[in-house]
Subunit: 239 residues, 2 copies
DNA sequence: ACAAAAGTGTTGATCGTACACCCATGA
DNA sequence: TCATGGGTGTACGATCAACACTTTTGT
């Protein structure tokens, strides 16, 4: 128990894996990289990499995120630790313990395939299967977690740009959950939650080319939703 | 990213830390061990230890749990991964990445201080402060997580023995949340959730020495609570 | 004028809370 | 028979889902 005999423990490699999620064209997408080396050469995988000696897993995740997306400033982005995957056989070559994160982006830039990755690309969530290692499972866990957290936290704004309309916010819910929501009721629930969104005075934006311009909102200071916005089994077309 | 140059990564020690929680005499308790070596010799800490070469973090956690509690069978106990703590300075001697778990026990046995720990003891949650390393924070995170999961999962039964009364189940909520609940309404909510609890036919038990014998229930197959059992700010004596 | 998208109003059903009340047991 | 804890009934208020309706823009 925390003894310090240098030989009492096995050295492990520690990595971070990132499930980078965003919404493009009304569908959930994940950022994938094509592996250049064995094992799994040519297969798609989640971006990630080794921890550097002086950084925490959170810092490593943010560094990798910046490298993979090419974003200059990733400080504001939502980064959430999912869980740690440590099964002995998860990497065929050596013992690797991986701390997995979910990252949520608005309005994604084209990834610039830098770093060691052969190529990086946004892939629709439904087509992101057959990934290397246990990344299928990590990605599924990320989606489950994000879907659940939409219910009782203000996480949805992390998928939106700094200023957004309530219609755009509703599309986040509809896309991630795959259900349709009633617009009047959604609006009331969101506005009834103090600190979820704040109006941007005087601003208005046309969303679909036609129709009444929508009021513009910013994310508010609240982090939790009371009462929660529950997923109801009302089937509907997913946006 | 997942390159295999053996020198491209820094070796880390990987440990598990356990926040073992239980209810004794109407109060939340945590299992703590007294450290025998530097650093933090003589201080109290969460039980834990290094991963063995061939086991996952979950397996290591269950092994440590069995060692510390002296329980013969820990297979049925609820073990939940909290998060991973990886800040570079969290251990003064070396780089240690620790996967933290919360474990929930019913009816705790006296710990038998085995293993490397000088002594192991159940400590009331409110008095468990000044722990070694960042264990104060891990323990607080464990309590927060458990309290939150009581709202929307069937986790409460993990604090109860195999057969329990609804009054005992209600005490779990009241103790962890520190609020009083309305008994008739609690009963209805629990019974209205399919699969939360199942009646044990014909069984009844006296709880307080006096009063009507209570019907006995078992944990059901359900894992999530729909609708959730929300914490209301109705102040009341904490059981 | 029409379509499309935002926003408001209203109503009936459901749910939750608070509380009164009855039941079974030990002292 | 009283205290104690288990269990049932009920009524009022809050909340929510559903849908009708108005407003503002582009074509």
């Amino acid at each position: 128990m925390h003894g310090y005999d240098k030989h009492a423990f096995e050295p492990f490699a520690v990595t971070v894996d990132l499930a980078v999620l965003t919404l493009r064209a009304g569908a959930l997408h994940a950022l994938l990289v094509e592996r250049g080396q064995e094992p799994y050469a040519g297969r798609w995988a989640l971006p990630g990499g080794f921890l550097l000696p002086a950084e925490s897993a959170e810092e490593a995740a943010r560094r990798e995120l910046a490298e993979e997306t090419g974003l200059a400033d990733v400080t504001g982005l939502h980064l959430e630790q999912l869980r740690t995957y440590s099964e002995p056989g998860r990497d065929p070559r050596m013992r690797v313990v991986s701390v997995a994160f979910a990252a949520l982006l608005p309005d994604p830039p084209e990834p610039h395939g830098g770093g060691d990755a052969a190529e990086a690309r946004w892939v629709p969530y439904d087509k992101a299967q057959g990934l290397a290692f246990d990344h299928d499972r990590i990605l599924a866990d990320a989606r489950d977690r994000v879907g659940a957290k939409l219910e009782y936290t203000c996480l949805a704004t992390a998928f939106c740009p700094a200023e957004f309309t309530l219609g755009e916010l509703q599309q986040v819910y509809e896309t991630v959950w795959g259900t349709a929501l009633d617009r009047p009721n959604f609006r009331r629930k969101v506005l009834a939650t103090p600190g979820f969104v704040e109006p941007v005075p005087g601003a208005a934006r046309l969303t679909g080319g036609r129709g009444k311009p929508a009021a513009v909102y910013r994310a508010g200071p609240a982090t939790t939703l009371h009462p929660p916005l529950l997923r109801t089994p009302r089937e509907g077309r997913p946006a």
